[in-house]
């Protein structure tokens, strides 16, 4: 069985973003970069399938500059993926979800994958569109935000958390699955596996190598702007709770004009 895991390198959620004024492009120079945490569930699930069965090959695929290689090595190859593919192309610098999905689909067509696992969204842009678009482009089944997975003969059963309950979905393979917290507990790369990861194949290609042209963006980010500064906090000084509540209601109605 061949499994592809599509991953993305994102800024660490603890990274401080220096954004004093509206800008067209974020200053990313000081960013610490990590594997998108939801992608870690996808990697872990692929590795668990490999550990449970025989003859499973896992390819980690990503788009990004040279700096993504460290993440691929540490968080994909060192935890059990077999090889990695990096698509590096300046044409992809500001690509939107549709363009990314087009390029990833071209890469995924190179080998007959039975499963494509992805995080259900990336924590940087919170878009969550790419895996769905890939499924559509490749004509594969798609199950989103799964929290458990069982594989059968050419089929799979996945659980999804839905409002107030759980949905059990059966799908045929090949399929694109997006992974949600709760699916598994991603492992840390062990020191010896970090050493071995350096010996696993990592291929770097351009869009031309894949024979795909980057389509024009359908969506463009015009501006990043900082959230408005928090106003002064007003403390209500009242004799008893009832009076405080009356004053609060008055302020919400007359000053804040929200009720």
């Amino acid at each position: 069985m061949k499994i592809a895991v599509c991953v993305k390198q994102v800024p660490d959620s603890e990274t401080r973003i220096n954004l004093a004024a509206p800008t067209a492009e974020l200053d990313s120079s000081g960013f610490t970069r990590i594997l998108n945490p939801y992608d870690a569930y996808a990697v872990e699930e692929a590795v668990k399938i490999k550990e449970a069965g025989s003859d499973v090959e896992i390819t980690a695929i990503t788009i990004g500059p040279d700096t993504v290689k460290e993440t691929l090595k540490k968080d994909c190859l060192a935890v059990g993926c077999d090889k990695a593919l990096v698509i590096t192309d300046p044409a992809l610098d500001h690509a939107d979800a549709a363009a990314i999905a087009t390029v990833l689909s071209a890469a995924l067509k190179k080998e007959p994958y039975d499963l494509v696992l992805c995080g259900f969204k990336a924590i940087d842009d919170d878009n969550g569109q790419v895996p769905i678009l890939i499924a559509e482009k490749l004509g594969m089944a798609h199950v989103s935000t799964i929290t458990s997975l069982e594989l059968g003969e050419g089929t799979l059963t996945a659980h999804r958390e839905i409002e107030g309950g759980k949905e059990i979905v059966q799908a045929s393979m090949p399929a694109v699955l997006t992974c949600q917290k709760g699916l598994n507990e991603p492992r840390l790369p062990s020191l010896p596996n970090i050493m071995k990861a350096g010996m696993k194949p990592m291929e770097t290609v351009t869009c031309a190598d894949l024979g795909v042209e980057v389509p024009a963006n359908l969506v463009q980010i015009k501006q990043y702007s900082p959230p408005p500064a928090r106003g002064e906090c007003k403390l209500i000084d009242a004799e008893d709770p009832a009076a405080a509540a009356r004053e609060l209601a008055r302020l919400l109605n007359e000053e804040a004009k929200v009720i």
């Binding site: 090595k73 540490k74 840390l188 790369p189 062990s190 020191l191 010896p192 596996n193 970090i194 050493m195």
Partner: protein, 597 residues
């Protein structure tokens, strides 16, 4: 002079080191950085959820569980050679792991007892058979080990051990009797590396199976800190140990004990750097949130001074720790890995740098103590309460100045080892000392210096400190001769002067290396810490040297030397408040120890 192409121990005192030749934390490669992330991840994922139970309820057994998790992660195998299931990592990597695991409080000590002192005697002194037998299982954590040197009656004076070993009539076993104490991991270890005197005189190492008849593990010690590490006595009553478990050579147990202490010391240097950083990251966010008189604590000058002093001292400690790692690795890299005695020879290379190992143990453990002390103070009353981590860090820190050789013993060792090397002709110290003495007692030169270049003043200061070291050591050797080893006050002052010199130079070289690679702007944070540290260090050196001189010479000779010392230690001062401000600002912004510009 020797014709060795690589640096030797103590050589820094006599020669100039090029910035490009020192190893610095900025030189860690991708793999080493990934290792560090895994250790951080281990602490967060496995230690943090158990922290309360380990540290405040003193559940020492959890150390065993964590070792069993750490083994498969590869955290116990860095020191073990590849043929025996380990990674055979270089010392810089090993020290980085020690630094990172220090965030795991008591477990850091548990980890060190297993992967360091509990494993290394077999790595360095074991037979191939013993290595095959034990090392692969120590690497995975299947087997847990500990190390027993101290006894109720012998601590620093380890060779005065009273534990005995007697060969049985059939020559197949030794019968061991005695008691060991303060043994880390003893509560659950499977084996112990211990020392006993064969026939009551030949101090020898043994690997002892702790399930053997006659072994009793005593109760857990009630300690001030590191409450989650297991520390018990081991009592041996007619314990039969197969002759095959004798470690190293009969009567050469001190080789094992002293060499392992060197390793323990450089690792402790690294882990106490980690401890200092932990104190800072535990205090800095608080100083931003806590307001008094309408402003955050971190905006008060005295808080900023504390932050700056802790940061600069931590920077000096970190710089000397990893510089030493580089020295060890360069020296070990000259050995042939395929040589069957490679492991034994590599510990010899560590011994070569015993001076540096002792210095970083003392300096970094005291830097950590300063950080714990001042960071607790920044939290005020909250620092004194268990709800905040500083209370624990403050207690835990204390042991670092006691174990792996007390800081007093290590202070005696620093000038002691230097003098020994000088007398053996390995360090041309006395010749250099005579030259400095001539310069100091001769006519002073009065060339007015021009406007100093980038960190040139600090470079001159370091050069002058080296002259001071040579002068005081040379005079002390001349005055006291073989009796110098009885002059503990003089020796300790000399040790402090030598350490200040090594620390100052290490900070300076690291900064210069960074500036050469990334530009002076990128090194601005380091440069400020270097200026502050070197300036203050010179004042301390001046006082220490003045006292050594007064203890050593008198009359006209003393006056001449004191005048020369005043010339060597003269400085105009640095704008300390501005330096404090800038250094503190970077730490406050980062909310942790930071060398960023």
């Amino acid at each position: 002079m020797s014709d060795k192409k690589y640096p030797t121990g103590g050589e820094f005192l006599l020669s100039e080191t090029a910035p490009a030749d020192v190893f610095t934390p900025e030189d860690f490669n991708e793999t080493q950085r990934m290792f560090a992330t895994t250790v951080d991840g281990f602490v967060e994922k496995y230690y943090q959820p158990l922290m309360e139970e380990i540290e405040y309820q003193g559940n020492t057994k959890l150390g065993k569980d964590l070792l069993k998790e750490a083994g498969p992660m590869g955290l116990l195998m860095a020191d073990i050679p590849e043929p025996y299931g380990g990674m055979g990592s270089d010392k810089a990597t090993i020290m980085l792991i020690s630094e990172k695991i220090s965030a795991a409080g008591s477990f850091a000590v548990t980890h060190g007892a297993q992967s360091g002192i509990g494993t290394l005697p077999i790595v360095y002194f074991g037979t191939d058979e013993q290595k095959q037998e034990y090392l692969p299982r120590l690497a995975t954590g299947e087997l847990i080990s500990c190390y027993a040197l101290t006894e109720p009656g012998s601590g620093s004076d380890a060779l005065a051990a009273a534990t005995t070993a007697v060969l049985t009539k059939d020559g197949k076993h030794y019968i061991l009797n005695g008691a060991k104490q303060y043994i880390t991991n003893a509560g659950y270890a499977d084996i112990v590396i211990l020392f006993a005197k064969i026939d009551g005189e030949k101090f020898t190492g043994f690997i002892v199976d702790l399930t053997s008849d006659g072994v009793t593990i005593g109760p857990e010690e009630k300690k001030m800190g590191i409450k989650g590490s297991s520390t018990c006595p081991i009592i041996l009553e007619d314990v039969k140990v197969p002759v095959g478990n004798l470690l190293g050579e009969i009567g050469k147990g001190h080789h094992i004990a002293f060499n392992i202490l060197n390793v323990g010391r450089f690792k402790l240097g690294a882990s106490t750097v980690g401890g200092a950083k932990l104190a800072m990251v535990s205090a800095l966010p608080y100083t931003k949130q806590r307001k008094q008189f309408g402003q955050p604590l971190c905006e008060f000058g005295l808080i900023r001074r504390k932050i700056a002093q802790v940061a600069a001292t931590t920077f000096a400690a970190e710089s000397m720790v990893y510089r030493t790692a580089g020295l060890l690795d360069v020296a070990i890299a000259t050995l042939d890995k395929n040589d069957p005695t490679y492991d034994r020879k590599s510990i010899g290379q560590v011994e070569e740098f015993g001076i540096e190992c002792s210095m970083i143990k003392v300096f970094a453990s005291e830097a950590c103590a300063l950080a714990a002390e001042e960071c607790l103070q920044m939290l005020g009353g909250y620092g004194y309460c268990q709800e905040y981590p500083l209370e624990r860090i403050y207690r835990d820190e204390r042991i670092n100045r006691i174990f792996e050789g007390t800081n007093e013993i290590n202070r005696m060792l620093v000038p002691g080892m230097i003098m020994k090397k000088a007398l053996k002709g390995e360090l041309p110290l006395l010749q250099a000392a005579m030259q400095v003495a001539e310069e100091m007692t001769g006519l002073p030169s009065f060339t007015e210096p021009g406007e100093p270049g980038y960190l040139e003043a600090e470079g001159d200061t370091v050069a002058n400190m080296k002259k001071v070291v040579l002068a005081v050591l040379g005079l002390a050797a001349q005055k006291f001769g073989a009796g110098l080893k009885e002059q503990q006050g003089v020796l300790a002052d000399c040790a402090d002067i030598i350490m200040e010199t090594y620390a100052s130079e290490s900070a300076l070289l690291r900064t210069l290396k960074r500036a050469a690679a990334e530009g002076e702007e990128a090194a601005a944070g380091m440069a400020d810490m270097t200026r502050l540290y070197v300036h203050d260090a010179l004042d301390r050196v001046a006082v220490l040297a003045r006292n050594v001189l007064a203890d050593t010479v008198d009359g006209d000779e003393l006056r001449t030397y004191q005048a020369a010392l005043r010339r060597l230690s003269k400085q105009d001062g640095v704008p300390r408040s501005k330096l404090h401000d800038r250094i503190a600002e970077r730490q406050i912004t980062a909310e942790e120890y930071s060398v960023q510009a």
